[in-house]
Symmetry: C3
Subunit: 344 residues, 3 copies
């Protein structure tokens, strides 16, 4: 990574807040409040961390407007409507400054079918494989050892990191980011039983991914059985997620790591699914549903809100007692009823 050398005023111009303190305060680093030095820009988004702010040596801090008094003595500060958002934008600028820019072109070691269309401004890295009739849009980046099967489509400005598989006829839109090891377009899991054996249902659909979608490392998105599996615009998926065939994920929905969504589930827009949660097949979740981590969703959810279902952990001895008793719960209810009847 290249070094970044800037100063407080440049950052305030970039981020658009109100600058306090020394406009020429030099900034060479970006980091958390704890451990920051005078050359570091940092941020406070949650008033809970006000103590960290007070103790931090950071040369510049992004803070909300209500912290004006708290930062009046600091070397420099930028008052923002939403410091966390400003911080996000700052990281983007920082990355753009410090990372090696991608050069257009196809590496000599890539294997590219003659019928593929690769925009001249795109980059295809070493050892990538590009199948027949693949289409790679302007400024897209195909990382080392990616496999783009026949008829796959990569939209403009989309980046596939190393070792991504984009299966036959699968499409991802513009400005996407797919992390290493993700597999888009493996077969959905479909079999018809016949006399104790499983007869494969060939998966004839594909995967269709909108714009501005991010997909985590080693995440799998299966192709549909007859129609396509769909991720709408702005969906964000973390690592090691399984999306079954024919699932439909609405726009701007985000899922944390290790989530599993079974086949034909339909998840609304602006939902969040916590890490390790499971959504069973053929269910429907409306927009603005939030599933807590490790919750198992066993029926459709028709009403926006937060939903949870996790066994509360405890020290092992206490858990064992309560878990054992849980198996008598229905009987306990009956006993409670009997007592109530008796005492009434």
């Amino acid at each position: 990574m290249g070094a970044v050398v800037t100063h407080a005023q440049a950052l305030s111009e970039l981020l658009g807040g109100e600058l306090l303190g020394n406009p020429l305060q030099a900034i060479h680093r970006i980091g958390p409040l704890d451990g920051a030095d005078a050359l570091t820009v940092s941020f406070l988004s949650n008033p809970r961390y006000a103590a960290s702010l007070a103790q931090s040596a950071a040369g510049c801090v992004l803070v909300p407007h209500d912290q004006r008094a708290a930062v009046s003595e600091r070397p420099s500060a930028i008052l923002c409507a939403d410091p966390y958002l400003a911080f996000a934008r700052l990281t983007q600028w920082w990355a753009a400054q410090s990372r090696t820019p991608v050069v257009p072109g196809v590496h000599a070691s890539a294997v590219v079918d003659a019928s593929a269309h690769i925009d001249p401004s795109a980059h295809v890295a070493a050892q990538a494989y590009v199948g027949a009739r693949v289409h790679i849009g302007a400024r897209a980046v195909v990382g080392p050892q990616c496999v783009l099967e026949d008829d796959a489509v990569v939209g403009e400005d989309t980046v596939l990191r190393a070792r991504v598989v984009l299966g036959r006829s699968c499409r991802i839109g513009a400005r996407g980011l797919v992390h290493s090891g993700a597999v888009i377009g493996a077969d959905g899991f479909g079999f018809a039983p016949e006399a104790g054996r499983w007869v494969k249902i060939e998966q004839l659909g594909a995967v269709r991914i909108g714009d501005d979608v991010e997909i985590g490392a080693n995440t799998c998105i299966d192709r549909g059985a007859l129609e396509d599996t769909v991720l709408e615009d702005g969906v964000k998926l973390d690592n090691l997620i399984q999306i079954g065939h024919n699932v439909h994920v609405g726009a701007h929905t985000a899922m944390a790591g290790c989530v599993g969504v079974a086949g034909s589930a339909r998840i609304g827009r602006h939902c969040t699914v916590g890490g390790g949660a499971i959504v069973l097949g053929h269910l429907e979740l409306v927009d603005h549903v939030h599933i807590s981590a490790a919750t198992v969703v066993t029926r459709s959810i028709r009403k926006p809100g937060q939903y949870s279902g996790v066994f509360p952990f405890d020290d092992n001895a206490a858990w064992e007692k309560n878990a054992a008793t849980l198996r008598q719960l229905h009987a306990m209810r009956d006993r409670l009823r009997a007592l109530e009847k008796k005492s009434s």
Copy 2:
């Protein structure tokens, strides 16, 4: 994919049911009842969807015999003993018609050890790696960027999609299908503790996989510690599954995505394991055991049947109350007993 052009009679000859309606009804597409047009073949396997059937414009439908009356006015229909099975066979035929056939041979960019045996009818795709003494059977397909380590064996007609790892001395039988990113034969997780550190137990066994096995994307099957990890014939594993060392999975057992099976578990034949379920180590499940999604199997199961164990999800506020109370459950039982005693 190539276009498929057929007609109702050809399909009925292929699938073997009784044809009603116009034998020359043209069929160019396969799809669900909803959204079908006159050139689409579709199917009804569950009478619950009879309304979809009535409203569907599908030119041909596969239905059970008891739907004879319901389809009498349709352009064409095929009465079958098991429409879902007929549909499965139809998808196989469809895929065979529409997909590019594989050509025998080894791509120039593959790296193949001189001691490997590759059947002349097999296909080894671009950038694959084939180690010493590997054996690849007739008509097998090794996809782009697969890694076959020394002494691995791929049976006849088995297909490895892109980026599959088949580890040293691991074997897969005939007619298998392994999806992208699967890792067969990584080390099992075994360590002996010594003074607070972990001493590695080298994993000297391998993985032995029978015929007609399907393995999902990014699924991991560890090699055995001393003996082999075994998947018997007809096993079907979905994506992102972890199979620990020395596990034995009986024939025709199927597991959905994100399942974890810990070391030395022994799972019977014709079992099913729902998505996200966990089976602890050294347990034994007899044949015909069915584990519900997200269930944690903590002891052996000696009797066929359906087993479940999932915390019921609820809106967050209701869940919080019940979960908090759960930690007092054992005490509640004691209080209930005391009341019962008092009132008796």
Copy 3:
């Protein structure tokens, strides 16, 4: 694998125990007690398996000192303070004997940036990709199709199996072992919300891994947002684990398959986390905490010990009744209180 031919005395010299019986007892195999023959060395670490020992035909057995009488008539035996540990060391010796040694050098098909430093004693296998300024230490092994992004560091004697991704600026120390498909250094999952959309927080940290660390197949370890994600020395991770950004895992902690650790969690030293467990973000677990399989850790743990939280599974009918009743648990508690009040 090459054949191993040894005898009981050689093993006792290697492992350091007390040899009983025939010192020249030939040993060609290593295996479990069940199924062993006269040429097999086996071990007993748990007195529960004493019956297997009695029935085993193994030519040599590693047993604890208190089994002296039980082995007095056997062909040979080695009394050890810790037979399981002795067995671990034996497997290491066995693997070293039987596996093909790695030859130093870079395979012609690898793509290596001119600025990379590869120790002459290291091995870079076929089709590997080595980016700019990468450093590969003495005797390290980079397996087929690994991707080492710019500025990555691989310590001495560390082995990366096939298809490992070590991301930009990520480092692993000495004597590590990383299994196929692991992705070290994908972006952490961080976004700031803005008017219903997600704005990416670029992940500017890296991953820093100590010495003697093992990482399982298809496991993902995300890079930090601003600072590094850290695995200290001696950490052992099984397959398909997700480690979020900025997580800190203390030395000699081990995690079984399918665990998920959310961002910024801090896990102590000498902890164990059972398969499928989930640790939520920003929590802290002190040293010597043991989490049972499939437990969801929802708050920090300040005290060493074993912690659990799993819904007890049951046959489906019994589970359904108890699970349904569970949703009334808080109300039941109130009813119980009312009864207690009434009866007092």
